[in-house]
Point group: C2
Chain length 404, copies 2
């Protein structure tokens, strides 16, 4: 992108890109073309009107507009006019200080940490990514998106929790949108497991100085502490409806597979699925009862051939892993154990950790069962020799572990 290699140039580039994230709406194609033609520093000057479009600049801009029709050039002037009202609010130094105060940083395409998957977004790629948390951003090859309805059913929450926890157990990062319902369950279950690597990333539609929705504040704080909160909006950016929809493309691009756990006939999760399909990512959907409106969107994706049917974490993992790696073993054994247990007990067995023990509350959250159900189930599993109580809480026995 014609950026100077030195640290000073990189700082200048970072500051320009920070300003661009406040000036230009996510996914704005005209803004992307200006930056592609002129680079972020000069592009920002043109976008803010502080640099006139002289014949030399016009020629460079027109070169990236070739094949886009006569209207495209008019679009540049209209965009600069549109952005004018925001110019007085630009304060990239302050935004960078703010994110640093939150223990965060601003990652740009020029950084080695820039997610490989964003390349597939083309002119829809963000100008930079505001990040809170210590870990590096994940590669799409080791990240899976789990998305779904805000008003999820207990069934959906159970499935989301199992898949999320199982993926983190396999070293995969779970990416979601930080919303209520399936999103929150995916983040929560990812954080239950002992951390090796990056458990979870929440992609927000607004600035990272606030927690949205507020009911998820505690969860999102924990995501920032042990995982990552990311956004293409600078601190203070409001999560508008448009930004929520645009945000979904980042969830899709950050990951190798997008799993829709529950979705109504019309839903935001389906929007994420379509973004994923658009950039060549694998989309998977979890089936459910035909009587559940919360599964209607998943069934629609399956019926349209837009998604692969997945029923457990192993099937999801197979979609992510390169051929031959991490393939499911003999299937029948798995089903046989399934058949022998009540559904609740199977959920509970799946939720039980192998190493460190877990308490009733934690098991209740991951398995999507009440505390009473967990206590009763632990008794049954213990009788079957599948779990045991230790000083640190409940965990699987070797026999219980092989049942997975």
């Amino acid at each position: 992108m014609g950026v100077p290699a030195g640290a000073e140039g990189l700082d200048e580039t970072r500051i320009a890109r920070a300003a661009l994230t406040r000036l230009i709406e996510p996914g704005d194609a005209t803004g992307a073309m200006i930056v592609a033609a002129l680079g972020p520093t000069e592009g920002l000057r043109v976008a803010t009107g502080s640099q006139q479009i002289d014949p030399a600049i016009e020629a460079r801009l027109r070169s990236v507009l070739i094949g886009r029709g006569a209207k495209a050039w008019e679009g540049v002037a209209a965009a600069v006019e549109r952005w004018r009202s925001r110019v007085p609010d630009l304060a990239p130094h302050r935004d960078l200080e703010t994110i640093a105060r939150f223990g965060g940083r601003f990652v740009i395409p020029e950084d080695s940490e820039w997610p490989d998957g964003f390349g597939d977004l083309g002119e829809q790629a963000p100008h930079g990514l505001w990040v809170r948390g210590e870990e590096h951003l994940p590669s799409q090859r080791s990240a899976v998106a789990i998305v779904g309805s805000r008003n999820a059913t207990n069934y959906g929450l159970s499935v989301a929790g199992e898949i999320s926890k199982g993926l983190v157990d396999r070293g995969v990062t779970v990416v979601s949108g930080g919303a209520y319902g399936i999103d929150a369950q995916a983040h929560r279950a990812a954080l239950v497991t002992d951390g090796r690597g990056l458990p979870t990333v929440a992609v927000m539609a607004g600035g990272l100085d606030r927690y949205y929705p507020s009911g998820n504040e505690q969860l999102l704080r924990e995501v920032a502490r042990r995982g990552l909160l990311v956004s293409e909006l600078p601190p203070g950016g409001a999560p508008t409806r448009h930004r929520f929809l645009r945000r979904n493309r980042l969830i899709a691009a950050l990951t190798g597979v997008t799993v829709v756990v529950e979705a109504q006939w019309r839903s935001g999760a389906r929007s994420t699925a379509h973004h994923a399909a658009d950039i060549g990512r694998v989309v998977a959907a979890v089936p459910g009862s035909v009587y559940s409106a919360s599964s209607a969107g998943c069934h629609r994706l399956l019926r349209d051939g837009a998604a692969v049917c997945v029923t457990d974490v192993q099937e999801v993992y197979e979609l992510l892993a390169p051929a031959g790696e991490g393939l499911a073993g003999e299937r029948e054994g798995h089903v046989a154990i399934h058949d022998g247990l009540a559904v609740e007990d199977f959920l509970l067995l799946d939720a039980l950790p192998v190493k460190r023990g877990a308490g009733i509350d934690s098991l209740s959250t991951v398995a999507g069962l009440s505390a009473a159900q967990v206590r009763a189930g632990l008794g049954r599993l213990q009788l079957m020799g599948l779990c045991q109580q230790t000083a640190g809480g409940w965990r699987k026995t070797d026999k219980g572990g092989s049942a997975k």
Copy 2:
């Protein structure tokens, strides 16, 4: 097939084919080739050894064996040897009298009633079809197979009942295997509706002089009375395991679409689905809970891309109907009603007839609900103005009818 056109020739052909169904196991390729080369009458004489294979006959037999390798010719001799022990038991006249005594008949490929779909079976086509019932055999263009597990769940029974009844309401014939579980529910629900056309066909794996399984005797009697019982085995033929598996190809060939409602990871229903795919029929599968072992086979078909996901009768009907005909209307309205009702009440509403009233027992069977659940649900639906009690029993109101 070189059959004389006159009635006498047809009788001779029918008698020969009746004998062939007792002599040769279903789907035996060698038997099919002999009949293809020589016609049923002369083919029977060769197959029974009453006609020596002279050079002229050998030439005709070899002509249909071209391209099948050297072993094929040896197969003919071996088959004749294999069939020898059955020759003394051949009594086609008696078998034809027996089926007539049961109010039935023996339909052969030379009859105009011969199902169009059997053509796709090639050398796997039956030599004739033993039939009980008055209606003509259906065209595959107006018949759907509903198959599934013997040990079905309440969920599977409900879905099977709804789809079956809805298809018959649309003038489609429901074909199944007469077994316990999903099969029985499909037949039963098809018989609930006021009959116009042929409601249901049960394809049996043994002779039609007995009811198998015996627990379905009452149901199968009713199928014979108002629908059709069919088999490629003559009266007295035992339903062996091999014949059950071969029978599945007839279910697939008789219908335009095969719907698998519930199936274990390994199941006979999946066998029917594969037969259907082999002869180019549409296969559909109903999704369910990922925790239900009874849906694992359906999910496997969906995951493998071997089946289309269907969630209601309209989606099944669209797979059968020619393009543009019988397409689903505005989807949202359907889902909206769905959302407003408890699952049990929706099942019940769907089970309620539009014209003649139905009793608690009948509704209980079709909806897959207990009598107590039906009574409670009728009260709720009545309060919502969706159903009413008449002298003949409970039925939908106009408002309830539009909710479908």
